[in-house]
Amino acid sequence: MIGRFLFSTMDKRGHVFLALVAAIGLAVPLANLLVPAGSPFHVSTATMSLWGKYLCYALLAISLDLVWGYCGILSLGHGAFFALGGYAMGMYLMRQIGSRGVYGNPILPDFMVFLNWQELPWYWWGFSSFPFAMLMVLLVPGLLAFVFGWFAFRSRVTGVYLSIITQALTYALLLAFFRNDMGFGGNNGLTDFKDIIGFNVQAQGTRAALFATTCTMLAAGFLIARGIVGSKLGKVVIAIRDAESRTRFLGYRVDRFKLFVFTVSACMAGVAGALYVPQVGIINPSEFAPANSIETVIWVAVGGRGTLVGAALGAVVVNWAKTMFTSGLMAPYWLFALGALFVLVTLFMPKGILGTVQGWWEKRRKPEAVPAAEPAPAE
C-alpha cells in the first residue's frame, strides 16, 4: 500500500527530479572521494558541503511548498521548525564531544560549565543516543507544529493573520534561544562538533556520507510530499486552498487536514535542519530570525509554488546566486538583488520558474484547459 501511495501518482517531472537527485547523490561523493584533487572532475569537500547545504534548503523549501503551494498556508515561521530540528541534532553532536571540550567536562557541554551549571538539564537527557536524537528531530518540530496548528486551524486563523502569528512564533523562539539560561548555548549556539555516530564530522568520508544522506532524505521528502499531494487528501488540501468554506460544506474537517499537512511539513523541515547542522558545523538562534523564514518563502516563489520540484529548484538557484553574490565585489548589492527578486517574482512571475514554463507548455498543447482565474487568495 505504501509503495502504491508513494509511486502511483508520480509524474514525469517527478521522475526526472528523482533521477537527478540520485545521480547527484552518487556522483558528487564519488567525485570527491575517488577522483584525485588535480582532476577537473574532482569536487572539493568544501564545495560538497556547500551543495549539501543547498540541498538541505531544498528539502526545507519542499516542506514549505507543501503547506503554502498546496494548502495555502503561508508560514512565515518554517525556519523555526528547521532550527528546532537543527538544535536536536546539535544537542546530539554536543553530547558526542564528551570530555574533549575546552573544560574537559565529560557530561556538560562547555557553555554549561562556563555558566557554572552543575548538572545536565532534563531536556538534554537522552540526546547522547543517536536514535533518540533522530526521533526528537522529527518529534520536536512536529509537536510544536501540531500544538500550534491545533489552536490556529481550529479557531480558523487564516491568511495573513496566520502568517503574522507564525512569524511571531519564530520571533518568540528567537528571543528565547538567545537567553543563556534556556540551556541551548545562548547567543553562540552549539558548535565545535567532533563526532557523529563515531565518525569525525570534519572528515572527508563523513562529509561525503552526509551529502549522500542529504540527497536520500531530499528524495524521500519529495516522495512523501508527492505522495500526499497526489492522493485524494492532496485534492482535498488543494480544495481547501482554493475554497476553504466550500470544502467544509462538503463535510471535510478542514482543520484536521491542515493540521496533518502542517505537521508533516514541520517534521520534514526538522529533518532538513538536522542535516544542515553537521555540514555547516554550527546552529545558533539566528536561524530563528523571521527574515530567514521569509527568505525560504521567496525560494519557493521563485521556483514555482505548488510544484514541489520548483521549490527545490528555487532554493538551490537562489542560494547559489547568494553565494556568488556575497563572495565577490557585489556583496553589498546582494540585498538589493534579493529585494528586487521578491518584488519582480510576485509582480511578473507569480507562478515561478517552473509554473511559468509549465504554463507555456500547456498552452501550446491544449490552450483551452487553462483556467482564466488566478488561484483565489487564501484568505
Partner: protein, 254 residues
C-alpha cells in the same frame, strides 16, 4: 401558523423554531419558524435582505443563532455542530455564487463531493472503487459534463459551473439539499433544464430552493415560503402566496 404539534417534531426532517440572529444590532433573522418534511421540496422567496442566505448559514452551521431551535431528522441539534459535521449528517448546500474547485478537474470535483469517509487517513490512502467510479460517471452524465471530465473546473462557463455544483450535491447524496439561486445567470433553456433536474432530484431528496426567478418557481410547482425581514410572511402554493396582499406590498412597496 407554523408551530408544529409536538408529534410532528420527530417526523420533520428540518425543524426551525423561534430562530433569531443579529449582527451588530441588526436583526437579520427574527423568530423564524419553518419545517421541512422528508421528501418535500420547498421554494423560498423574499426580497433582498429578507434573511434567506442567513437562514441557510444557520442551517449549515456557518452562523450560530442567538436563540431558537434548529433540529435535523427530529433529534439532532444543528446549533451545536460545525459545518463539516452538518454536511456529514446529510445536508448539502449549493451557493448563490457557484463555488467549485477551479484548479481541480471536473471529475475530481465530483470525486471530492462523493459520499465517503472524510477522515484524514481514509483520504490519504484513498482508492476509488469501481462502484464509486460508476456513480461518478453517472453523475457526469446527468449534469452533461461527461465529455469534459478532465478539464479544469475553472474553465467552465457560469451555467456549467452551476450544473457542476448541482452534480457535486448529487454526489454527496444528502438527505436535504439547500440550493441557493440555481438559475441565476442562466439562459431560459438552461433554467428549464435546471428545474427539471431539481425536480428529478426531489423525487428521493428533500430540497430547499431559494430563488428570485418567479418563472423558475412556477416551473417547480411546489409550496412556497415568503420571507420578509427575517421572518415568515406567507406560506402556501405560489398562486395563493402571490395573491396575498402583504406579499405584494413587500415586493412592490407601498
Amino acid at each position: 401558523m407554523n408551530a408544529p404539534v409536538p408529534g410532528a417534531l420527530t417526523s420533520s426532517l428540518l425543524y426551525l423554531d423561534g430562530v433569531s440572529v443579529s449582527f451588530d444590532g441588526f436583526k437579520a433573522i427574527r423568530g423564524l419558524s419553518l419545517t421541512i418534511e422528508p421528501g418535500e421540496m420547498r421554494a423560498i422567496i423574499g426580497p433582498n435582505g429578507a434573511g434567506k442566505t442567513t437562514m441557510m448559514d444557520i442551517i449549515t452551521g456557518k452562523t450560530r443563532p442567538d436563540e431558537g431551535t434548529v433540529m435535523f431528522a427530529g433529534s439532532v441539534d444543528l446549533t451545536r455542530l460545525d459545518e463539516a459535521a452538518i454536511a456529514n449528517l446529510g445536508i448539502g448546500r449549493k451557493f448563490q455564487k457557484p463555488t467549485v474547485f477551479d484548479f481541480h478537474s471536473i471529475e475530481d470535483n465530483i470525486l471530492l463531493a462523493l459520499k465517503s469517509k472524510r477522515s484524514v487517513l481514509k483520504t490519504l490512502f484513498w482508492q476509488t472503487q469501481a462502484a464509486q467510479q460508476k456513480r461518478i460517471d453517472e453523475i457526469l452524465g446527468i449534469i452533461k459534463l461527461a465529455d469534459k471530465r478532465d478539464r479544469l473546473a475553472g474553465s467552465l462557463s457560469h451555467g456549467q459551473k452551476q450544473w457542476l455544483e448541482i452534480g457535486m450535491l448529487l454526489a454527496q447524496d444528502p438527505r436535504l439539499l439547500l440550493v441557493d439561486e440555481p438559475a441565476a445567470g442562466m439562459t431560459d433553456g438552461e433554467t428549464a433544464q435546471t428545474a427539471a433536474l431539481l425536480k428529478a432530484i426531489a423525487r428521493d431528496h428533500s430540497v430547499i430552493v431559494v430563488e428570485h426567478d418567479m418563472g423558475f418557481i412556477r416551473e417547480l410547482g411546489v409550496k412556497v415560503t415568503v420571507l420578509h425581514e427575517g421572518a415568515v410572511l406567507a406560506e402556501g402554493p405560489l398562486d395563493q402566496v402571490s395573491a396575498n396582499e402583504r406579499v405584494v406590498e413587500v415586493y412592490l412597496g407601498r
